[in-house]
């Protein structure tokens, strides 16, 4: 596969053709913050933390680096006043839901985000979809999905599948940027419903408290 050369933050960066800007940056050791990206998963483009500025004929365009393909001669800036301001706003919006998330707190320090800017709406989940997509794309179990739409959207385990599959998998748990609180909570809620007659009974539920 042929290589391309682009400029990120003033640095010449080489990348494989077809790579995203994020992949090109990561290959060159340039950090771009992400919340919903995972190398094993299809680009999702939901958290918008990985926005970068492209310089094009004198004007700039903001794109998300996890989706936008790197191209020869592209001039990319991973930080600017505007980008930092938008990232700060995104973090402040998410901290209203998950104020205790270490991932968010670390980034908040970096970008000067005020965790108390917006009223708390403690739902913990920040809709990064890592659990849902890992379950669908990697584990291929589809035990968890999104339900509802817009501000009412939630992640939810499908009890019938979860009761059968999740015990031995739990691949999604460590990925949750809000410390798996919501995922574990919802899983527990899902499993609390009466199990189907022919499904295996749970051996114990002690993991819930760990």
């Amino acid at each position: 596969m042929s290589e391309i050369t682009l400029q990120i933050d003033g640095k010449e960066v080489r990348a494989k053709e077809g790579a995203t800007i994020l992949e090109a940056a990561q290959g060159a050791g340039i950090f771009i913050p992400t919340l919903c990206h995972h190398e094993k998963l299809e680009p999702f483009g939901a958290c918008r933390m990985c926005i970068v500025e492209l310089e094009k004929r004198g004007s700039t365009q903001i794109v998300v680096s996890c989706v936008y393909q790197a191209a020869d001669g592209l001039v990319v800036r991973t930080r600017s006043e505007k980008i930092d301001r938008v990232r700060r706003t995104i973090l402040e919006l998410l901290l209203a839901h998950a104020p205790d998330s270490f991932v968010l707190q670390d980034l908040a320090r970096e970008y000067g985000a005020d965790p108390n800017r917006f009223d708390k709406e403690g739902s913990f989940c920040i809709h990064c979809g890592l659990c849902v997509r890992t379950c669908a794309e990697v584990a291929k179990k589809n035990a968890i999905g999104f339900v509802g739409r817009g501000i009412n959207k939630e992640i939810s385990f499908i009890p019938e599948i979860a009761a059968r599959e999740c015990w031995d998998c739990k691949e999604c748990f460590p990925l949750c940027p809000t410390e798996a609180l919501q995922a574990a909570y919802l899983l527990a809620m899902g499993l609390r419903r009466p199990p189907a007659r022919n499904s295996a009974p749970l051996k114990n539920s002690s993991w819930m408290s760990t």
Binding site: R48, I51, I62, R85, T89, L94, D119, H127, I151
Partner: protein
């Protein structure tokens, strides 16, 4: 139904239909579009049919239910041909008189005519009505002439002649070229040139391509696409077939919202009839061209009007926009090149092919050609659909066509472009209507909603309303839209309820920037517009709400009080009787006093207070004067005074 196997057979069929018709035979056209049906149009059609039957006239008179001619304000609309006599707000009770007078005696029933509110003159013909006179109706004009469920009616009116012209001797490249030269821009909102979109798909390497009609019209108060799809479905279909030919598609979809049952029925019927006539399917009009169309019903999500969300939904998944930076005319539905255009864009195609791109480009501004249908609603005398040439000024639309603001109120703003459009103030009323012109003014063309607001409308509350709509309709995928709108809605609600703080405007601006710059799709990117445009033109209203807890309109319930002026109250006690909350103390010849604790601010008192007294006022930003002491409330009339 007999198949038509060549353009010539179509022409012969057209002549045959026309030869069977007597142009002098009376024809009663009743609009049975959704608006008129809601006001009883189906009953009117039934009444006409039974009355004609009763009078033994069934062989001499044709009665049909047609599409919407646009004057929904005065529905049900009835037009009687060949004289084109137009009756408005017709009820079944009017029918015997119309049949006896107009059909049998050739006399006009004066009381059902349109009366010009300014001149007092009566308008006999549709074209005499000021609402219609100032329009340029190329697309919607056939609606009232055509039985929307009969392909024969469409063909008799020249329908499918553009398709016949295309298949009779134009190459796909020639069709593409004509559409490109017309500079037809997408009527769904973005205004992307249709010809360029088509060309991108045509040139894409993938041999499987799709064409799609976006009929997921979701803007509050907008119903242009519904009127076309219900009223003249074949015109949309004909445009789609021509587009498929130009692009090289063999399959097409009509994505229409489930809430438009009549549109679903009529377009489904139109497809069946076109298939039976050989205008869809294999060997269309005897050529090698093959094309099929399916109807898909959307479940009512506003975001599914966004092209990539619509395609995701068509594929059977949750309607969320795609994050990819690739145009859907190259990688679209099921990863194939897909041309998606709005209903009105497709309906323009047959006109361009028939009349040529030069005819089309003679109308309009530099960047926006042709006509555009708007749905004119809100505080306007003539509500309805208006089709106007691009370049007409907003003032002409509001005053010449719309008849101005009712009730002697002052114009305040016109909201264009749907929920994520913007509000344009009075000083910009001479703005020419066009894609780029409206964008420059901080609003947008959108799909064509126009909501007129008068002086009683609070602009902060207007922004809050539209942001609330968009918050509800956000798909929830990306953070700046889902979370940003949630917070914007909260802050705007606080401001309208008197809980605004210094710094709220700045927070809203920061949230607007995040959504505008970083949201995933057009819905999120344009969502802050209702706030940004009202802030731009009506900043003083925001400041009054936040700093003085005052609503200048005055309209925000939490910030107003109703007060009866003791100097003008005549003690008629109507308000006392009508107040649903029992909040008014008073009686005959006693000054009425509103108990502010009990008042629910429903506004009934202001409505019922006789206009010659006009004693009820709305107060905002200042304390309500203390009530007149009990012993001073008796009103002493002049004649009783000593």
């Amino acid at each position: 139904m007999e198949r038509l196997n060549s353009p010539q057979e179509l022409e012969n069929f057209r002549r045959e239909i026309l030869s069977r018709r007597d142009p002098d035979m009376p024809c009663i056209s009743v609009c049975v579009g959704s608006g008129c049906v809601a006001s009883g149009a189906n009953e009117v059609v039934e009444a006409f049919r039974s009355e004609i039957d009763k009078q033994g006239l069934e062989t001499n008179v044709d009665t049909k239910g047609t599409g919407c001619p646009g004057f929904c304000e005065r529905g049900p609309v009835v037009v009687i041909y060949p004289e084109e006599i137009c009756y408005l707000q017709v009820t079944p009770e009017d029918v015997p008189e119309i049949v006896a007078e107009t059909i049998q005696e050739k006399k006009v029933v004066e009381r059902l005519l349109y009366v010009d509110p300014e001149t007092g003159e009566k308008a006999v013909h549709e074209s005499d009505i000021s609402f219609y006179r100032n329009q340029e109706r190329n697309l919607i004009c056939n609606n009232i002439k055509i039985d929307s469920q009969k392909i024969e009616d469409y063909i008799a009116n020249g329908g499918y002649s553009a398709l016949s012209k295309v298949l009779g001797g134009m190459s796909p490249e020639q069709v593409l070229d004509e559409v490109k030269k017309s500079n037809l821009r997408g009527r769904g909102g973005a205004g992307f040139p249709a010809g360029i979109k088509w060309e991108g798909s045509r040139n894409a390497a993938d041999p499987v391509k799709y064409v799609i009609v976006n009929a997921d019209e979701g803007d509050p108060g907008a119903f242009m696409d519904r009127a076309l799809l219900e009223g003249n479905p074949h015109s949309v279909l004909e445009g789609l077939i021509i587009g498929a030919y130009a692009v090289g598609a063999k399959e097409g979809y009509v994505y229409v919202r489930h809430e438009y049952p009549l549109a679903v029925r009529n377009i489904t019927l139109a497809i069946e009839q076109a298939e039976a006539r050989g205008l869809l399917g294999s060997n269309i009009l005897g050529s090698d061209f093959e094309f099929r169309v399916m109807v898909n019903q959307g479940a009512g999500a506003f975001v599914c009007g966004e092209s990539t969300a619509l395609m995701t939904s068509l594929e059977g998944r949750a309607g969320e926009p795609r994050p990819k930076y690739v145009r859907s005319n190259v990688v679209g539905l099921w990863g194939r090149p897909s041309v998606l255009n709005n209903v009105e864009t497709w309906a323009n195609v047959p006109l361009i092919i028939n009349n040529g791109s030069e005819w089309f480009t003679r109308i309009g501004t530099e960047g926006s050609k042709g006509t555009k249908i708007f749905s004119l609603v809100g505080k306007i005398t003539n509500t309805g659909l208006v089709e106007v040439p691009m370049g007409i000024t907003l003032r002409e639309i509001v005053y010449k066509i719309g008849g101005g603001i009712p009730g002697g109120k002052k114009f305040k703003a016109i909201q264009t472009g749907g929920p994520s459009g913007g509000c344009i103030p009075e000083e910009l009323l001479d703005l020419e209507v066009g894609f780029d012109e409206l964008t420059r003014a901080g609003s947008m063309m959108g799909s064509g909603g126009m909501i007129v607001m008068d002086e009683d409308t609070c602009m902060v509350d207007t922004a809050r309303y539209f942001i609330e709509f968009l918050t509800d309709e956000s798909c929830g995928k990306c953070v700046p839209c889902r979370e940003g709108l949630r917070q914007m809605h909260k802050i705007l609600t606080n401001i309208t309820e008197g809980r605004g703080n210094d710094g709220d405007i700045e927070t809203l601006e920061v949230l607007s920037e995040a959504a505008g710059e970083a949201a995933l799709c057009a819905l999120g990117k344009s969502a802050p517009n209702p706030f940004l445009s009202t802030l731009k033109y009506f900043r003083d209203e925001y400041e009054a709400h936040i700093r003085e807890k005052r609503c200048p309109a005055p309209s925000c319930k939490q910030l107003i009080s109703y007060y009866i002026d003791p100097a003008t109250c005549q003690g008629c006690a109507i308000c006392v009787k009508k107040c649903p909350a029992g909040a008014i103390d008073g009686g005959k010849n006693r000054i009425s006093i509103i108990d502010q604790e009990k008042c629910t601010k429903c506004g009934t008192c202001i409505e019922v207070c006789p206009s010659r007294f006009s004693a009820v006022r709305k107060i905002s930003g200042e304390p309500v004067p203390p009530p007149v002491p009990e012993e001073e409330r008796n009103i002493v009339r002049g004649s009783q005074k000593q």
